[in-house]
């Protein structure tokens, strides 16, 4: 298959085959096809845009280097999803101390800015976003990844299991504990009427 035959809407397998046959532009189609998804997967785990951008670049470089080794045993999207999630989790593990301090700092900021708020008053969209970030930051790395994949991406437990190499039962428990922790975190900040 030559360069003319493929485009952004082509099947992943066709694009990969074209790349492996020497068409380096085929990789560009893969990037254009998946860049938004990959960015948001990473962003929802690491939360910070700059970090998400760096990791997105690293992930695509990794994909570029390893595309020849992709044997098509799993779906290509699962394959790149796995790389993205693992890179994000590695980032969280490496920067655990810095991120924990940042989470504490964010809490302080919110407490100050919400001092005048009545308990029944819902925060504006900026504060809502801050709350969301704060709630997600309260999760341990793996729970954060599981929560994002299940809650935002609607991946099945089997798919998440193949990405993280975990059992379905363990992932269900992870997801439940993540939602409970987020709920507790939000409730502490007076969002909901009692």
């Amino acid at each position: 298959m030559n360069e003319i035959d493929i485009n952004i809407n082509s099947e992943d397998s066709d694009i990969i085959e074209s790349f492996n046959n020497g068409n380096k532009n085929a990789f560009n189609y893969l990037v254009l096809k998946y860049q938004k998804k990959i960015y948001w997967i990473i962003r929802k785990i690491v939360l910070d845009h700059e970090e998400a951008d760096d990791i997105t670049q690293e992930v695509f470089l990794k994909i570029y280097d390893s595309l020849r080794n992709f044997r098509g045993e799993s779906k290509f999207f699962t394959y790149i999803y796995k790389i993205a999630v693992n890179y994000s989790l590695n980032y969280l593990k490496k920067n655990y101390r810095i991120l924990s301090k940042k989470a504490d700092y964010d809490t302080e900021v919110y407490k100050i800015s919400s001092s005048d708020m009545r308990p029944d008053e819902l925060p504006d969209s900026v504060e809502k976003t801050k709350l969301l970030e704060r709630a997600i930051r309260s999760l341990p790395a793996q729970q954060r990844a599981v929560f994002n994949m299940r809650f935002y991406e609607n991946l099945s437990y089997e798919e998440i299991g193949s990405i993280l190499n975990k059992s379905v039962g363990g992932l269900k428990a992870n997801y439940f504990h993540a939602t409970k922790k987020i709920e507790e975190c939000l409730r502490k900040k007076y969002i909901f009427k009692e």
């Binding site: 990037v31 969301l132 439940f176």
Partner: protein, 242 residues
């Protein structure tokens, strides 16, 4: 009973999101919500927070951000394909490698310094090696040096100005001795030690003369002198402890 409730609880987030397809499981959860007030409360609270999460979005990246990903990526790939264009490219080693290099380099330097010192120490302890080196060195330079009747060239650590000086011991292999002036300060103890250690292997020509003819010429000149002159020279030699 408690185990059953725990199983149902774990499925609660998926029930709220409508991600459960098994009708029996859905029935079990709904029955529990109706009959168990605590469970009902937990369900409501979780539902509220999950609705809140769905209503909130993270801040969008800057405009045109997604247009910049591919060009930057292609630039990185090009750079990767042509490493070494930048002489400082080695500085971009991954943290992983620096983590090993930083502690290893000082250890290597310390090892080199220590081994250098240790060699010097050994060279003082084992003069046999020095003599053997001296002998082979003499043989190697024997043919390359211009003959000079008044000069005898020798090479030995025992002819150094100070036998206890480490530096001169290790580096003093180029001593040039003027035979006529006998301007040599030698330590008698050094000579004795040297003879004890490797006397059998040392030949006169190795130590004093680069040419046997020179030695014979000097001997014949010495024999032609009168007795008083010979005695004077011998006395001088004794005084010089040669």
């Amino acid at each position: 009973m408690k185990n059953n409730i725990d199983k149902i609880r774990i499925s609660l987030p998926d029930y709220i999101k409508g991600n459960i397809n098994d009708y029996k499981e859905i029935e079990r959860i709904e029955r529990e919500i109706e009959n168990n007030p605590d469970f009902k409360k937990e369900y409501r609270e979780l539902k509220e927070s999950m609705y809140f999460l769905e209503s909130v979005k993270l801040i969008e990246p800057p405009d045109h951000y997604f247009n910049t990903i591919l060009p930057r990526l292609n630039k990185s790939i090009e750079k990767k394909k042509a490493p070494g264009q930048n002489i400082f490219s080695f500085l971009r080693l991954k943290k992983y490698y620096w983590g090993y290099l930083v502690p290893v380099i000082p250890i290597l330097i310390m090892f080199l310094i220590y081994s250098e010192y240790f060699n010097d120490f050994n060279s003082n302890e084992n003069p046999v090696y020095i003599l053997n080196d001296t002998k082979s060195y003499l043989k190697s330079i024997d043919s390359g040096i211009t003959k000079n009747e008044n000069t005898l060239i020798t090479k030995s650590n025992n002819f150094n100005d100070s036998a206890n000086d480490n530096e001169s011991t290790s580096n003093g292999n180029d001593a040039i001795i003027d035979y006529n002036s006998f301007n040599i300060n030698r330590d008698k103890n050094d000579i004795d030690n040297t003879e004890d250690i490797d006397a059998e292997n040392i030949e006169a020509s190795d130590v004093f003369s680069k040419d046997e003819d020179d030695f014979n010429n000097l001997q014949s000149q010495f024999n032609q002198l009168d007795d008083d002159s010979q005695n004077d020279i011998l006395d001088n030699l004794k005084n010089e402890k040669l």
